[in-house]
Symmetry: C2
Subunit: 338 residues, 2 copies
């Protein structure tokens, strides 16, 4: 069976563990020789260059998690991580002290940045890094081009202006997604969230083929706005989802009225989407109606009506790869491919 | 008193501790407000870019040692150093596993490289780094231009050629100094040692003024070929030494027939200079005769005749800053400036 998965970082990585288990593979580590093919198409709009290091949080979360070297407690980065370099960078008053960079992780960024600066494509680099880590599936960046999510907010550094009438917005500023998400914990109301550069980007090699040749396409329960949104914004990918012979099944990242993890609620509000499974389902929309979904998995206690989309209930907490594999089984079942 | 010092890395740094002590300053840490001015003009031809990081071993040895954060046992790098990033880089089979890069040290290289890539000059960057470290003197790179010592050797990776007559050299290769020095421990016979780029380089801002305005110029007991040699190869610096009103005093890095530390013997042999205090003294030569020295300090048991140069004996082991200060005092005394 060939499964293509659109995925973000931490949640996407956990979901991919379940996809591996569903196909009978070990959750962590390399794939045995079998007839299955899993391709993860991963968001890169969270990527950021700090200290001249090109950092790809979502790709690395997938790579580390799937190979079994991630910190499962913290949810991101390497296990047994140390923070010596970061401490020294802070000693130099270097940029972005709010962005944690572990020592083990920094080696990945050094290797990646060196290869990128030497002219390799991000997809080549990811492949090279995965030769060490053996995530047990094909990890593809959504694009080799630079796409960066920027969030427009009222400038938190702007001087107060006593003459500004109440309710009038102050001067605006566009922040890199990571600054908004980590430094400001998504607490600054977002006036817009845009994957800058997406319009001019092209899918990375292998992305469109993976979707076209899949038996099943899954959209992981990742952030619909800043993880899945940028992937769908790469010209050609949404069209490929609409054109593939495979059914496309999404999984809701919202249970009740809250995201399972992170600040997806703040992101959905910013783009005017209700914070509910139904809101996300309708945001993705039916394949038959210009959207991308055939079916949508929601939590058992939720209700959602999405025109043209089959909705099914299933426990959605990815507490371990076995439970997550059951979510994947439910995705297969709802489109009758089991 | 204004003292300018030409210096390499570990030995140069130790010598500078003695210069600080000679002037009554604390050996380690910032300078109190006083009438003295010490300028260290430091070799940069050992610099190497690895993993896209611009590494300046001699500048950093001086910076760390003078500020008191170096590892005094090992002689280079930071105290309390850890090696997590290096271990991970080796896990990626990244370049140059023979070059040790500590985690604390890497932060310095990240900050430096970012500033250089942003267009700052190495002298600006060094000044910025020293604002954190407060070495207690002015630390200048010899040049802001790229100069790299390359060593020509018989290619150690060349396939053996049974048809080559005995005694005929095999194919030659130019190695970066660090590869020859660290990877091969200077054991590959050097056919030539050249500071590539020196001819087109210019002295960093402040270098010529420091020499012209000095009351005393000292040449630290650093490697004459690969530390002091490149400094003198920067057009303008040797001329400034010949033109300054200050006396120029060198200190022998050779005691008996061996360097105090490192592989200076191998370097001297490569350029045809006898491995002795006299050999080094004559290599530098008299200011009155196209060389750079007025006086030369050698170990008490050594003998040297250098035409046009006053030679004096003095214990030269830099066991601690107090003993090293006595060496500096002897330099002052030999030229009658005490």
């Amino acid at each position: 069976m060939r499964i293509a998965v659109l995925a973000g970082g931490v949640g996407g990585a956990k979901f991919l563990l379940g996809v591996k288990r569903y196909l009978g593979r070990p959750a962590f580590g390399p794939a045995p020789a079998d007839e299955h093919l899993i391709t993860a198409i991963v968001n890169t709009a969270d990527d950021i260059r700090l200290h001249n290091l090109q950092i790809c949080p979502d790709l690395d979360s997938c790579m580390y998690t799937l190979s079994g070297v991630s910190d499962r407690q913290r949810g991101w980065g390497r296990a047994d991580e140390t923070w010596t370099v970061s401490g020294e960078l802070a000693g130099y008053d270097a940029e972005a002290p709010w962005f944690s960079l572990g020592d083990r992780d920094i080696a990945t960024h050094l290797v990646r940045t060196r290869m990128l600066d030497a002219g390799y494509r991000l997809s080549d680099v990811t492949d090279a890094l995965c030769r060490r880590w053996q995530p047990g599936l094909t990890l593809l960046p959504m694009t080799d081009d630079r796409v960066e999510t920027h969030v427009v907010v009222e400038d938190p550094a702007a001087a107060p202006d006593a003459d500004r009438p109440a309710g009038t917005p102050g001067p605006l500023v566009a922040l890199h997604f990571q600054e908004w998400w980590i430094r400001y914990q998504a607490k600054l109301p977002a006036l817009s969230i845009s994957p800058i550069g997406a319009e001019e980007s092209t899918p990375a090699p292998g992305v469109l083929d993976a979707i076209a040749e899949a038996d099943l396409v899954l959209i992981a329960p990742s952030n619909p706005v800043v993880s899945v949104g940028p992937i769908l914004a790469v010209p050609g990918i949404a069209d490929a989802l609409r054109a593939t012979a495979a059914p496309v099944v999404g999984v809701s990242p919202i249970i009740g009225a809250a995201p399972v993890r992170g600040h997806a609620d703040k992101c959905l509000e910013a783009v005017g989407v209700p914070v509910s499974a139904q809101g996300v389902g309708r945001h993705y929309g039916a394949r038959s109606d210009g959207g991308v979904l055939d079916a949508f998995l929601i939590a058992p206690d939720d209700r959602a009506t999405v025109p043209g989309v089959t909705v099914a209930g299933q426990p959605l907490l990815m507490t371990d790869p076995e439970h997550t594999a059951e979510m994947v089984a439910a995705c297969v079942q709802v489109v009758g491919r089991g």
